[in-house]
Structures are given as C-alpha cells and as structure tokens.
C-alpha cells in the first residue's frame, strides 16, 4: 500500500511535467484547431540553447532556464510564422504536415550544430530527497510540481481575468465572428503561440534539468508525451490537459514499479488506446470546463 501511494506521488510529480507540455499543446489546438507536431522539437532546440549558455559561459541554473525558455519561444514563433500564419487559409492538415517537416528540420539543425548528440545539462538542485513519514520526495520533483501549479494558475488568470484572454476565447470559439468584430486574429494567435511556447520552455527546462542531459530525441519524447496527455484530457481543454498529464504520470509510475521500466511506454500507449476506443473525447470531452461559472466573469 505504501508503495502504491508512493508511486501515486511520484506519478503526480512526473505527470505535472506532462501536464505542462499538454497545456501548451492544448492552448495552440484550442485557438487554432490545428495540431503543432513540432511543439516538442522547438522545446528541444530551446533546451540546446540552454546547454550552449551552460557550456560557453558556465552559467548557473537561472540563466540556463531563461535561455531555454527564450529559445523555445523564438523557435515557437518561427514555427507559427511558417506552419500556421503562412498557410492560415489552407487546410488544417497542411499545417500539421508542415509542422512535421519543420520538426525534421529542427532535428537536423541540432544534429549539425551539436554533433556529439548527448550534452550535459545543469541539474536544478543537488539537494537530498526529503522524507515525510514513510514517503520521500525529490526536491526537483517538488519544484516541478510547484511550477506546474503556478503556471496553470497564471494561465487561468490570463484566460479568464484579462481582456486578452476574453479575445483569445472568442477567437477559439468562432474565428469568423471574431474577424468581423474587428479582433486582430493574427495578433491573438501569435501571442497564444508565444505563451504556449514559453510554458513548453519551462516544462522542457525542468524535465531536462532532472535528466541532467539533453539529446535531439527529446523533441520526439516531448511531442509524444504532450500529445498523449492532451488526448487523454480532451483536446482544447486546459483542465483536461492537467488531469490527462497527471493520469499519464500515475499510470507510468505504477507500471514502472509493478511491471518494470521497459513497460512504461507500453502502458502509456495502452492507456491512450483505451481512451480512444471508450472515451474518444477525453476526460473533459470538448472544453466542458468552459461552461464553468467563473468563465462568465466580467473581465
């Protein structure tokens, strides 16, 4: 029983990083109704910018974190301009396919610029795990969890307490009507993309700092985990992304403990499969949470 509960705690910690990845994914999907497959790779490139700052200047944690987030945002904007803004008149699938092409391009760029493939990344902290009765927590996990909570709260305030958030929700609901109201759709989607990339950058930094190293494969990993967590929660729903991420984390933590590390991804995909068959809309269906009372607040 203690093991099971400890696994759940570990799963929540692990899942909070998935939740952050999924929030970025779902924010882009919610506004544009388009999938950005190169979301993970743009975070990966951001992390390599962080590594560069670390190796070149021997910079500390905060500078590396800032460089990672900044890199992820810049690459994210590059992706938005090419795959979404440039073909905004085209079909959604055109954006998805071109975001896949940019994914390959980003991986190639990193492989050329960083030929050794695996690079060191400064750890968040060297503090010892903390004990709480029979349970123990790694400090970096707690930081990860705290960041996830803080960013989620911040995003919530942005969406439901500001006029920008109101416009963003209007665009997400009916781009056509928004256009005739004079809402600057290009600006709204651009800012939404930048926000999503920044959240992804923070998530990427926390995950890579925990791993202590970065490889070009991180892009693939981040896209997969974010995508699965988003699908579990329901595409376009932010509460769904959080719950989907936590659920994925808990299932992975349990399967690592009871079945072994090699079963981790197998169980994740099995979970996704079960959801697609039995609950294709995800935990939150389609943005059910937006019917919440607080969504009606006058900003």
């Amino acid at each position: 029983m203690v093991d099971f509960v400890q696994n759940c705690f570990d799963g929540v910690m692990l899942g909070s990083s998935y939740a952050l990845l999924a929030i970025g994914f779902t924010l882009i999907f919610g506004v544009m109704r388009r999938l950005n497959l190169s979301y993970g790779p743009s975070i990966m490139l951001g992390a390599f910018v962080g590594t560069l700052v670390f190796l070149e200047f021997r910079a500390g944690g905060l500078a590396v974190a800032a460089a990672t987030v900044l890199g992820a945002v810049l690459v994210g904007i590059y992706v938005e301009r090419l795959c979404f803004w440039a073909i905004r008149q085209g079909a959604a699938v055109a954006s998805m396919v071109s975001s896949f092409a940019i994914w390959m391009q980003l991986e190639e760029i990193v492989t050329i610029a960083f030929p050794d493939r695996t690079y060191p990344f400064p750890p968040l902290t060297r503090a010892q795990p903390m004990d709480f009765g029979p349970f123990f927590f790694k400090v970096e996990n707690l930081v990860m969890f705290g960041c996830a909570v803080a960013l989620t709260l911040g995003l919530h305030l942005l969406l439901y307490r500001t006029r920008f958030g109101l416009r963003l929700r209007a665009v997400a609901e009916s781009p056509d009507a928004a256009r005739y109201m004079g809402i600057n759709i290009a600006a709204v989607t651009f800012l939404a993309f930048a926000c999503a990339s920044a959240i992804g950058g923070v998530a990427g930094y926390l995950i890579v700092a925990q791993d202590g190293q970065i490889t070009p494969l991180f892009g693939l990993w981040a896209t997969f985990k974010g995508l699965i967590a988003m699908m579990l929660g329901g595409m376009g729903s932010i509460p769904g992304a959080i719950l989907g991420g936590l659920l994925l984390g808990i299932v992975e933590a349990q399967s690592i403990w009871y079945l072994g590390t090699e079963f981790r991804d197998l169980c994740a995909y099995a979970l996704l499969f079960l959801f697609l068959v039995f609950r294709p809309g995800g935990l939150f269906g389609h943005a059910l949470a937006e019917r919440e009372r607080l969504a009606l607040r006058r900003v």
């Binding site: 109101l166 009606l296 006058r298």
Partner: protein
C-alpha cells in the same frame, strides 16, 4: 453614403453578383430583396471584405473600400450581422458585447495596460445600454449559447452596434422569427434610423421589408431588376414575375 459601382463577383462560371449599381443614402433603411441565390448575401459579404471583388468598386463615405479587409471596413464604420447566428456561445451575453466593443480600440497600440485590464467606465455603460436595447439585460451573465433564438438574434444586432458603426448590414435578421418578434424588430430598426443609423437590410420576410424600408432594390441572378419605394416595388410587374410570384402574395406573407 455607400455606393456600389458595377460590382461583380464570379465564382468559377457562376455570376453571383453581376454588374450591380447601388447607392444607399445617409439615414435611410435600404432593403435588398430577391429570390434565393440572387446574390444578396454575396453583396453583403463583398461590402465587408469577406472575399475579393471580381470587378467593380465599393465606396463608403467617399473612400474606396473595394479591397479592404473586414477590420478596415469595421474601422470605417460598417458592422454586420449574419444570416446564421454567429455569437460566441461559450462567452456570456455581456462578454459578447464587451469583446465587440473593445476589439477596435484594442488594435491601437495606445493604452496597453488599459486594454488588458479594466477598461473605462464609459465603455461599461455603453455595454449596459446595449443590453437594455436588446432586451437581454436580465441575462447579461448567462452563456450566449443558452439564450432563446429570438434573444440570440437581438444580441447579435446589439453586438454589431457595439462597434459604433454608421452603416449596419443586416443579413436576414428576421429569419425564423415569429410575427410578434418581427414586429419588435421593426420597431428596433425604426428606432435606430431615428437615431441616425443607416441600414442595408437583406431580408425575405416581406412584412418587415415593406414596413420599415425607405427604398428597395430587387436582385435576380445577381442583377438589379428594380429599385424604388416599397409601393413602387409591390406594383412592379417585373418584380412580381421574378420574385413575388402570384399577385395575392405581394403585400404580405413570407415569400
């Protein structure tokens, strides 16, 4: 105020609008009628920049807005409603108006903080006045998607007004309304005209068109076949033949 000059829109081989000349004068309600597919909605869409004009010119208050995108048309003072209601169903009634009211001001770079937070008390008062006008003040904090059909139509009209336009394009605002609601809409439009609004009304419901417009143009196959006062149009043999059908239905009913 609004002048269309030889306006044409061709979709492939189809001439949706074909050499249309039209002039809407300041302060009038101008009706645009015609059978289904005669190019009425296309004309509205061309005026507010939905898709590019094939040939011809659109002038608004002396400005050429032929190729202006929607937000430029709106900034010039042209707002619209839709044939199919397109409210933000997951936003509240109040938020629908608030978004529309702020959107244009928010395009400007000034007042950055003001745009993101708060906004002026005057802007809030304007929204309250629009809620009253549309008769939805009691439901201000309800989801727009939960309103009744008639309420949604009224809210959409109010949302178009929120941008403070000088010309209002209404695309079949009475579609699906009952007799009582049509009567109320008629009063609302008359009140708007009294307050100085210019309205281009595309409509099938004859009671509304004949009862509230100052002048009417009739389209058929993208071309104007008649123009005049409601009386003149009702007695025009060409119009009866093309659109109103049997003479007994000319005065009322839903053609």
């Amino acid at each position: 105020m609004l002048a269309l000059d030889g306006l044409s829109k061709h979709f492939g081989g189809v001439r949706a609008v074909d050499g249309l000349d039209l002039e809407v004068r300041q302060g009038e309600i101008f009706g645009l009628i015609g059978p289904n597919g005669s190019g009425k909605s296309t004309t509205v869409n061309l005026i507010c920049g939905v898709f590019p004009v094939t040939t011809g010119e659109i002038r608004f208050e002396g400005r050429n807005i032929t190729r202006a995108p929607p937000h430029v048309c709106l900034a010039a003072g042209i707002a619209r409603t839709f044939q199919n209601i397109r409210l933000f169903g997951h936003l509240s009634v109040w938020q629908n108006l608030w978004v529309a009211q702020n959107a244009m001001a928010d395009r400007k770079a000034s007042g950055f903080l003001n745009r993101w937070f708060g906004g002026s008390a005057r802007a809030r008062q304007e929204v309250e006045a629009l809620l009253e006008f549309a008769g939805v003040a009691a439901k201000a904090d309800d989801l727009a998607g939960n309103l009744s059909f008639g309420e949604q139509r009224r809210l959409e009209l109010a949302r178009a007004l929120a941008a403070k336009p000088s010309l209002l394009l209404l695309d079949e605002p009475a579609a699906g309304m009952n007799v009582e609601e049509v009567g109320q809409l008629r009063e609302r439009l008359a009140k708007l005209r009294d307050d100085g609004m210019t309205i281009l009304l595309v409509e099938h419901v004859m009671e509304l068109v004949m009862g509230v417009t100052d002048r009417i143009a009739v389209l058929n196959f993208g071309q104007k076949i008649a123009e005049g006062t409601p009386e003149e149009i009702q007695n025009d043999p060409l119009v009866r033949e093309a659109y109103l059908g049997a003479p007994q239905s000319a005065g009322g009913g839903n053609a």
